[in-house]
Amino acid sequence: MSRERGRTPDPRRFDLGGGALGVFEPSHDVPLVSIVFALRGGSALDPAGKSGLARLALRMLRRGCEGMTAEEIDFRIDSLGAEMAVDTSSSTVGVHAQVIARNVDAFVDLLTRLLSTPAFPLDQLDRLKRETIAEIVEARDNDRVVAQKALQRTLFEGHAYGNNAGGTTQTVAAVTRDDVVAFCRRYLVRGNVVVGLAGDVTEDRATALAARLAQALAPGSAAPDDVPEPRPRAGRYLLVVDKPNRTQTQMVVGALGTSPGDDDHVALVVANAVFGGTFTSRLMREIRSKRGWAYGASSRAAIDRHRQAWVMSTFPSAQDCGPCLNLAIQLLDAWVTEGVTRREVAFIQRYLVRSHAFDVDTAAKRLHQALDVELFGLPGDYFSAWTDHVRAVTPESANAAIRNRIRPSDLLAVVVGTASQVLDPLREAIPDLAGASVVPFDAE
């Protein structure tokens, strides 16, 4: 019933001078404008013992500038009908904002002022550090977050990808004002920034607004990507994160996955979708639909500049955790050794190609894709030719990608639960287990 539509054009990219890049995607559907101000390099840049620095440094931007206190800045942001937050990953850290369109000029005025005259008041940094530490402690209430953090730091132990982007209570406490100033002097510079706008603003105005933001910064060069390629952990390990009185477990099983630069990257993404990417995938069907052991079960291959984690996750009751983990590992073994079928690949290709419409149905989504290409070093046509890439995958290439990238012999299983109840069944659930340990949930 719909009309034929042409391919959505890519967001417009423009040079902002001094190495800064601008990206713009228009939409006049709703009177809102999204603004992203992102740096090349994220938590992977954090010095040893100071994880969380990149995030703290950008959060300090709204804690005082020339002529405005933190309180005045907060009030001004709200009064303009805007919101502003800092988003951090291993490879980028940025300010993400949205504002009612009629106030976009005033909001960019404010943002320009924050970028060009940050004060980094010491008392505000101390407050922010205490606030951040309290947030880290509070996050321990969320078992899923506890499991994911434990997996990331253990799977990538000793590597920059093991840094917690938000930091730990110890590393946040160790950050000084000098660290924040040095980070901003080095990385909050024109040559290291990508400015994106999307929404209800004309192209001419968007270009001018982006230029004003970039010009608020001092000249400087892009951050180098000197993160080494992660290496897999050898053997099967179990880490139980002990938390009292759990009726349920949060279970994540991870291994080294894929990088967007890999020749077989899209093939692995397609194969993963068969395994745990949809409601009718193998994991969901076996764990939830057939046995009712958990409300959900899924797997995903994260993307970054280098190889990131491949993770499957579920959350069975404490009583079912052993059989559930054992089944998940059996399914994984079968996925690697027997592969996926021609029928499964054809089915999931139809899903991935047709659902692509929802990846690009708003200007903000199209903007973020363009920014990801730039910030994660993705191939230029990663998103724009995504459906072609997916269609090109064959059962043979999907199965080769699984065998090439996923090693079932090198797995890390992290389970948040009550150790006295779950440790023994979990140990028995993992064939060829090389080692197991228990840590308290509030250790980090």
Binding site: M1, D29, P31, A134, K243, N245, F279, S317, F358, F441
Partner: protein
Amino acid sequence: MAARTSTKDPSAALRSWADEASRDKPEGARLVLEGAEAFGGETLRRWKLGNGLTVLVLVDSRAPVVAYHTWFRVGSRHERPGKTGLAHLFEHLMFGETEHLGAGVFDRKLEESGAETNAATWVDWTYYHELLPADRIKLAVTLEAERMQHLVLREPQVQSEKEVVANERRFRVEDDVEGLANEVLYKTAFVRHPLHWPTIGWMEDIGGFTPDDCAAFYRTYYAPNNATVVVVGDVRERDLLVAIRDAYGGIPRAVIPTEDVVPEGPQLGERRAEVTKPTASEKVVVAFKGPALGDADHCALTVLSEVLFGGRASRLYRSLVIDRELAIDARGWVSTFRDPGLFECWVTARGDHTGAEILPLLDEAFARVREDVVAEDELTRAKARLELGSLQQLETASGKAEQIGFFDTVLGDPAHAFRRVDAFRRTSAADLRRVARRYLVDSERTVLRVLREPPSAAGEAAP
């Protein structure tokens, strides 16, 4: 020369088209255009099938996608003690086998078309939603009509979903501090009204459901005259309506029971409750009895909540989180139920600070808004934040469909989202003081504290 203007009325043309499309059709399949109204810059039309099915259509061609929502006017308010959680269990069962679709086929057909689907249940409603590539809209029409009339409810399906829901309850309530606190809060604040029990149901009730319970519920509430289909997206309206007429027109009406909800009645004294959990931080919740969503005071109390709790510059966030560093979070919410609910004020203490330290400061802030008028700049700030939030809910086809379906189901007013924005704009400082005096009444509140269990003693290496 005056510009020529068209006098053609699109509604008149559609009415005559509907008459033609209904000719020689059974009564249940006859289409009637009941009305049209502005929804932002677009036109939302209300259609009715002869069997009572309401269809709300908003054509939006800006992206090649379509949101298809089916809202049933049934939720946990229609349950009774001993059978709590049935509406929510039913939401799960609706993804199961039907007479013409085997187990799992519903989801596979949608996934194969690239669609996303899910559902939600609350006090006043249950809704099912699909987001599809626009050229797949007929699939949603066919599948939703199928499960509205041909669901299979046998012991294996019911037993398996009871297990899944029990696990969902462990995830959302038993092992979730806020989930449990929320459950205890409503259980304490309401003693007669169905808000007393959780939508997911008590664990012992979930385990007790039989296929007969489910079949009776299905026959009673899953009928076209108890449902509204909302379609937002890149569709040709007439083609869509023909597809809906053909798929749903043969489904008979049901006799929807007259609602038997007991009003809560006045609360004559403060109620207190405590929960102890292995949590990192204490919490304190103060919940006043609040207005129904359709009450004229609801918007004013929402603005007051924003003054007190909305964002870093709000009074209580600034006082408790930023200045005094007693809390890690402070937030407020005026419940959006058809019947009067709660104005919930949640504060999570920081470190070793306690709810006992925080409660007097909350009381001080509540007393202040009862006594003094809110400054104009604070009011402007709160309204700007609410306008931003309202606009953000209209960014996607799904967001629009959700707003339309929710407000139509609860208030019978599908474009109410825009009326709320207007009401926020009109709200004055005097309105805020009035609602503060009316609702922030100590004898009509419930105070809940979440206390910490002793810290973990775990941590030894496993042998």
